[in-house]
């Protein structure tokens, strides 16, 4: 189990008042905003006027070999990951270690502001990778406002060398959060379905990866179709649909033990599983003689499933509001797929989608402010609407863009995009709420059904 420790605030009292790089080994987030800087970015800004950030390779006081490579090489790799994260957020124009000069260890806490002003950088990220005696690494990173010549934030982490990418994501998160005012999201993982083979006999395997596609791992071997995974909030389990034994049923896979169990015993097909925000319940759909309803069962096992919907027709999907009090789901009870909201006990069901066409696969933002969904009508597009309905806005325009899943901060949406025809493929994509920053997530095979987990614990 990966453990991160944010270094204690108390240790940095001297670090804040010294330029000694040695003191920089004790770093921590500031307890209050430094406040002076005019630097900020707006996640809703569509102007394209991105902030230029220089991200030189992180320095090391001494190149030390680690199981993950030398601290010097790691310093460069961490800077590359930070650069990619910032670029992929669509808010920044980072200049990574390939395009800016390196820094000395001494510069980490004493930026050469004049130089960076001359290099047309508005912000500067510097840091260090230092081998500790116990086999771990300390990774520190600092964000500076170049024009004002001030430090904006700093973060430090003690990690196992193999977890260096997490340190990089956490640095990028600190920078993103400080400059945008939004919550972080890079340090998180994705569960999805890796696809291969011909269209009429696709091999579909459960797989997991970091939010940027790194640290990819297949979980199932592809002998049975796997679909629609969701991480438990603590990342210890994945609930998903498997056709093991040619019966579509929901399983909970335990990442630590590699074992899985049926969520509920039934002769009927069960599918469309979702964890509640507290991880205590699993929502799922069950079809009985052609009629599909949504049920809720304890994730720990045991207990009788509670039926939440009882309309004739297809009630499926389902996504909890962040506080767990409500569930958004889809139903064709009115004649076509539309989006409905109900209380977590199934009471108070009411339709919220009235934007024309069909609307499906609703997912409640972790911020609570929006519902992401698939708009059906001459193809699939990913859109967002208000939890009370209305405010509908479409973000993508592929042939089939299906099944949105929110980033932990509710600012980015992943989905899968399919192309038509016999050679049709699907891939995991993401888009931000402006609809402007869209990109494909690199995966070893084709991909579908992405499910973005929360910020890593």
């Amino acid at each position: 189990m990966t453990r991160f420790r944010t270094l204690a605030l108390g240790l940095c009292a001297t670090a804040l008042t010294t330029v000694s790089p040695l003191a920089a080994q004790a770093v921590s987030p500031p307890s209050v905003s430094t406040g002076e800087s005019g630097l900020s970015v707006d996640v809703t800004d569509e102007s394209g006027d991105d902030l230029v950030i220089a991200v030189p390779a992180l320095a090391t006081p001494q190149a030390v070999a680690t199981p993950a490579g030398s601290t010097e090489a790691l310093g460069r790799q961490v800077a590359e990951v930070i650069t990619a994260d910032l670029r992929n957020s669509g808010l920044f124009r980072p200049k990574g270690p390939d395009s800016v000069r390196g820094i000395t260890f001494g510069e980490v806490t004493a930026p050469a502001y004049t130089y960076w002003r001359g290099a047309s950088s508005e912000a500067l990220v510097q840091g260090f990778v230092r081998a500790k005696g116990d086999g771990k690494l300390t990774v520190g990173c600092y964000l500076y406002d170049v024009a004002l010549g001030t430090e904006l934030t700093r973060q430090g982490f003690d990690i196992a060398p193999g977890d260096w990418r997490r340190a990089a994501h956490k640095c990028a998160d600190a920078i993103y959060a400080r400059l945008s005012g939004e919550s972080p999201f890079f340090d998180s993982r994705i569960a999805y379905i890796a696809e291969s083979g011909p269209k009429d006999n696709r091999v579909k395997r459960l797989a997991i990866m970091d939010s940027d596609g790194a640290n990819h791992r297949f979980i199932t071997n592809g002998q049975s179709i796997a679909l629609t995974p969701r991480f438990s909030p603590d990342y210890k389990q994945i609930v998903y649909l498997s056709y093991i034994g040619k019966r579509p049923r929901i399983y909970i896979y335990d990442i630590g033990t590699g074992k899985q169990k049926l969520v509920t015993e039934s002769v009927n097909q069960t599918f469309s599983p979702r964890f509640s925000p507290d991880g205590r319940f699993i929502l799922y759909s069950m079809s009985v003689s052609g009629n599909t309803d949504i049920y809720r069962v304890s994730a720990a096992g045991g207990g009788t499933p509670q039926r939440l919907t009882n309309s004739p027709g297809i009630d499926t999907g389902g996504s909890y509001s962040p506080d767990g009090s409500k569930i958004v789901f889809e139903s064709d009870r009115g004649g076509s797929q539309q989006i409905y909201v109900m209380n977590a006990d199934g009471s108070g069901q009411q339709r919220i989608s009235f934007g024309g066409g069909r609307s499906a696969t609703p997912e409640w933002s972790p911020r609570g402010d929006l519902i992401a969904f698939t708009k059906i009508g001459g193809g699939f597009r990913v859109g967002v609407m208000s939890p009370t309905g209305g405010g509908e806005r479409l973000l993508t325009n592929g042939w089939q863009d299906e099944a949105p899943s929110w980033s932990p901060n509710g600012r980015v949406i992943q989905f899968f995009r399919s192309s038509p025809g016999r050679s049709g493929k699907s891939a995991v994509w993401q888009v931000d709420l402006t609809g402007r920053n869209e990109r494909k997530i690199p995966t070893p095979l084709d991909g579908s059904d992405p499910a973005w987990g929360p910020l890593l614990p």
């Binding site: 679909l227 097909q269 599918f271 759909s285 052609g290 797929q337 059906i376």
Partner: protein
């Protein structure tokens, strides 16, 4: 579908005439234990190149495919309503299922790619159950029939056009020995 039906009929004819020969021809290894060859009352002489080794055993899935007018019925977009053609197809399946009362069957429901994943799993279940209910209404014991939906996961036609989609919106009866 017409073509499929004609082919099935031709295959049925060939298989009926060939089946008795096949039984005799198949006992390759344990000749001593093989039952005595049945009396062949058919003319047999017309049968050439039918792939004798592939002639299905009576009551098998191959036999089912050979004798029913089709193993599948088709649906309109986002529909689970059986048409007259569908009912005729299912009637032929009823006849076979009544001939082999010990054979169980599962009905696979499928959808085209124009629905979202979860919804299509539910819709495929509706289609499978539409076919199942009809078979039951015609006298097939409910206990012999199960359903499974593959949603849009197993298309039969891989194109993205009306004809491919029409082929994929289906419920397929698969016998289980």
């Amino acid at each position: 579908m017409k073509k499929e039906t004609d082919m099935a009929r031709l295959a049925t004819k060939l298989i009926l005439t060939a089946s008795l020969l096949a039984v005799a021809a198949c006992g390759k290894k344990e000749v001593a234990d093989a039952p005595p060859p049945p009396v062949d009352n058919s003319t047999g002489t017309e049968v050439v190149d039918t792939g004798v080794d592939n002639v299905p055993v009576p009551g098998s899935q191959g036999d089912f495919l050979a004798k029913v007018s089709s193993d599948r019925v088709f649906f309109g977009l986002d529909e689970d309503v059986l048409t007259d053609d569908d009912r005729a197809t299912l009637d032929s399946q009823v006849g076979w299922l009544q001939q082999y009362p010990n054979v169980r069957a599962t009905i696979e429901g499928h959808c085209d790619e124009r629905g979202t994943r979860d919804y299509n799993i539910a819709l495929g279940d509706r289609r499978a159950n539409a076919a199942k209910s009809y078979l039951i209404s015609k006298g097939v014991a409910a206990g012999r029939l199960t359903t499974v939906s593959y949603g849009k996961e197993r298309p039969d036609a891989v194109g993205s056009d009306e004809s491919a989609w029409a082929q994929n919106r289906r419920a397929v009866t698969v016998t289980l020995g």
